[in-house]
Amino acid sequence: MSHVAISATVATVVLCAHCGVPVPEGLLDDDVEHQFCCSGCQAAFGMLHAHGLDSYYGFAERREAPVRTSGRSFDEFDHPAFTNLYVTAISNGLSRTELYLEGIHCASCVWLVERIPLLVPGVLRAELDVRRSLAVIEWDIATVSLSRIAQSLDTLGYPPHPFRGVARADMRKREDRAMLVRIGIAGAIAINVMLAALALYAGELNTMDAGFTRFFRWVSLAITLPAFIWPGRVFFTGAWASLRTRALHMDLPIAIALAAGFVRGAMNTITDSGPIYFDGLALLIFALLVGRFLQQRGQRMAVDATEELHAIAPTTARIIEHDVVRDIPSEALLPGMLLDVRAGESFPADGVVMRGRSSVNAALLTGESRPASVTVGQLVYAGTVNVESPLRVQVEQAGESSRIAKLMRQVEESATRRAPIVQMANRMAGIFTAIVLVMAATTFVIKSQLSPAHALDDAIALLIVTCPCALALATPLAISVAVARAARRGMLIKGGDALELLATPGIVVLDKTGTITEGRTALTFWHGPDWVKPLVLALEEGSSHPLADGFRRAWPRLPTATVSASRHIAGGGLEGTVDGYVMRIGSPRFVRESILSVSESLHSVINDLDRTLTPVHIAIDGVVVAIAGLGDRVRDDALDSLRQLRGRGWRTVMLSGDVQDVVASVGRSLAFEAEDSIGAVSPEAKLAFIEQLKATSGRTVVMVGDGVNDAAAIAAAHVGIGVHGGAEACLATADIYLTRPGLNALVELTEGSRRTLCVIRRNIAVSIGYNLIGASLAVFGLLTPLIAAILMPTSSITVVLGSWYSTTFVRPTTSESRS
C-alpha cells in the first residue's frame, strides 16, 4: 500500500540506507549521500560506519524494519542493586552478565551483536544465542560501564533487558548436558553390543569355534557393564524411589527386567551356557533414555519461551532526589522515595499520589476495563498503569510487600497446592507392572515343575521381552510431537498432562478484559460527518490517553489538520483550535459546559448509545457535531470460537472483575447463559470460584485469562491458559500460553488434544500387542534371544512412526487466520 502511494508521488522510491524501507517524502534530503527512514536508522548507520563495519550492508539477509531505539539512559544498569542481581564478577576485574535482546531475528543480528567489542572499547566478549535471544557480555568495569554497553545495543535496535532466570537456566544446562552424555554412552554401548551379538547369531548358524563364542560373550558382558553403571543407573534410582513411595512406576518393571537379565546373563557367561540377553538390555537402556529426552525437550522449549517473555517486564523506576530525576532498578525502591511516573507507564510500587491528577487503569490487578481517576492523597498500586498525565508518587510499599507481590505469593501457593494428576500412561504402567510380575512368577513356578532347567531363563526372557520399552515411548513421543506442532501454531504447552485433560469436554472459565475482548479501547460507534474526523485526529495527536489511541487506530490513514492551540483538561478532555475551528472533545459534561444546546436528532443518538461504551462528544464552535462511543471491543473470533466449544460439549463461563452491567451485556452478545456471566469478581473471589467449581462439578476446569487478577485462578484450575499479551504472572503459572491473539486457538487446542489422546491410545495398544505376542512365546519357551532382539526394536519403531505421522495439530479447524 505505502509503496504504491510513494511511487505515485515521487518518481523513484528512495530506500533507507540502513533498513531498506522506503523513506518518507518529508525526510528526503537531496544534499546527503545516504537517506534514512528515521533517526534510529541514521544513528545505527552512523555508528557502524564510524567503526568500519560497513560490511554489514553486504549481507543478503538483513533486518528489514526501522530501528526502534528506546533512547533510555540505562542508568539503572550501573546501580549496585542491579549489579548484585544480574552481574557476576569473573577474574581480572572482568564482569559477566546475560542480557535478553529485543528484535533479534536473523543471521546478521549475530554478526552485529558479536561486533560490540569493536564498537565499545572495554567489552571483551559478546556472544549471542539466536534461538533464545540471549547475549553473554563480558567487560572490564574499569574501562566501560554496563549502561554504556546497553546504550550501544539500544542504538543498534536491540533494546537490552536483564535476564532473570540465569540460575535456573544454568541448572537446566547442566541437566541437559548430563542427559546428552548418558544417551551418547548408552548409544555407543548398544551399537557395539549388538555387533558382538550379530557375530554370535551368525556363529550359531555356521558353528563357530567354541573359543570365539566364549570370547564374544565375555566381550558383551564387559561392554554392557558400564551401560548399567552409568546411564542405566537412573532407572534403578527411579525404581527405588517408586518402592519407597509405594507407587508403581514405569521404572520398576524396567529395573527388575534389567537387573534380572543382567545377573542371569552374567551367570550364563560364566557357566558358558544359555542365552546372555546383553544386546537387548543395552538397546533397552538407549531407547528409554531417548524417549525421556524427547519428552523433556518438547516441554522445555515451551517453558523457555514463556520465561524469556517474563524477562522483558520493566525493572526500572524513576525517582526524584534533591530535584534530580534518576533511574534505579525497581528492586532498590524503599518506602518514602518520591517517584516520577509519566503517562502510559506502570507504577513500580504501591504509593500515595503527592502531586498531579490523572486516571489509572487497574485492569491488570482488578479486571476493571475503564480507567478510574486519581488525585492527591489517593493510593495507587504497583502494576497498574498511569493513563493521562504525569504523577508524583511517594512509595509506601515496595517489592515483596506490595499488593501485587502478595497476590503473586498466593499464585505460587495455589500452584504448588495443585493436586498431582495421575497420568494415563502411569496408571497403565502400574497395572502393566503388576501383570508382568505375576506372569513371570507363574511361568517360573509352573515351568520349574515341568522342565527345571529352563524355568529361570523363560521367566527372564518374559521379563525382558515385555519390558515396557514401546509403552514407555508411547506417551512421551505422542505428546512431544503434539507439543512441538502446537508451538508452531502459536500454542506453547508447558506440560503434557494439560493435553490429556483438554481432550474431554469440561468447563472453560474465561476472563473478559483482554481475553474475550481485545483489552484496549477501540472506536465502536461514530455518529457525525466525515469532515470532522481529521480535526478530531489532529487534536488528539500526541495525547497518550487510551481514548486518543482508539481514534488513531480507527482512522490510521486520514490526513491530519493543523492545530494552532490545544489544552488538555484532566478528567475532562481536550480543547483547541484546529484549522480555524474552536473544538472541544471529551466527556459529555465537559463538552456541554461550552455549548448552548444539543439538537433533537443527536439527543436520541445520545440516549440510545450502548451503556457499556464511554461516550465522547465533539463540539465545533459551540455546537455538538458528533458523538463517538469507545469501548473494549469483543474479539472478532470470540462468538464463533465459543459456539464451537459449546458444540463440543464444553460449558462456558465468563468471570470478570468488570462491573456486572458491562459483563452481562457482553455475555448476552456472545450467547452466554445468564448465570454464567459473572461480573465484579475480585482476584481472590476468582480463585475461590475455581476451587469451588473443581470441588463440585467433577469435570475438568479450564481457566483462560490474561492478567495478574487471573493468575491465582489460572494456577488453581486443572488447566490454566494465558492469552496473547498477558501479564507475566499469568505466563509464569499458566500450563499453556497462546502466542497468537484470538480465542480460536482454544478450539484448536481441544481438538488437537483429543487427537493426541487418540494417538497415545493407539501407541499403547500397539506396544501391548507386541508384548502379548512376546509374552505368549516366552511362556511356551519358544522365545529365542534372536526373536526377542527383533521384536523389541520393531515395536518401538512402530510407535515412533505412528507418533510422527499422526495429525494432531496440523489440520486447521476453522480458519487459517494468523497474525
Binding site: V130, K173, F212, V219
Partner: protein, 44 residues
C-alpha cells in the same frame, strides 16, 4: 581368525576414545546452542 583377539580390544579402545571425546564436548557446552554457530561461520 585369532587376530580377533587383538583387533576387537583395539576397536573397543578406539570406541572408548570416541566416547570420551563426546563426553568432553558435551560437558564443555558444545551442544548447548546448535543454531548460532551455523550462522556465525558465514560471516567470518
Amino acid at each position: 581368525m585369532s587376530v580377533i583377539y587383538i583387533v576387537l580390544p583395539l576397536a573397543l579402545i578406539i570406541v572408548g576414545g570416541a566416547v570420551l571425546a563426546f563426553v568432553w564436548s558435551a560437558r564443555n557446552g558444545q551442544y548447548d546452542d546448535l543454531e548460532t554457530p551455523a550462522v556465525r561461520v558465514l560471516h567470518d
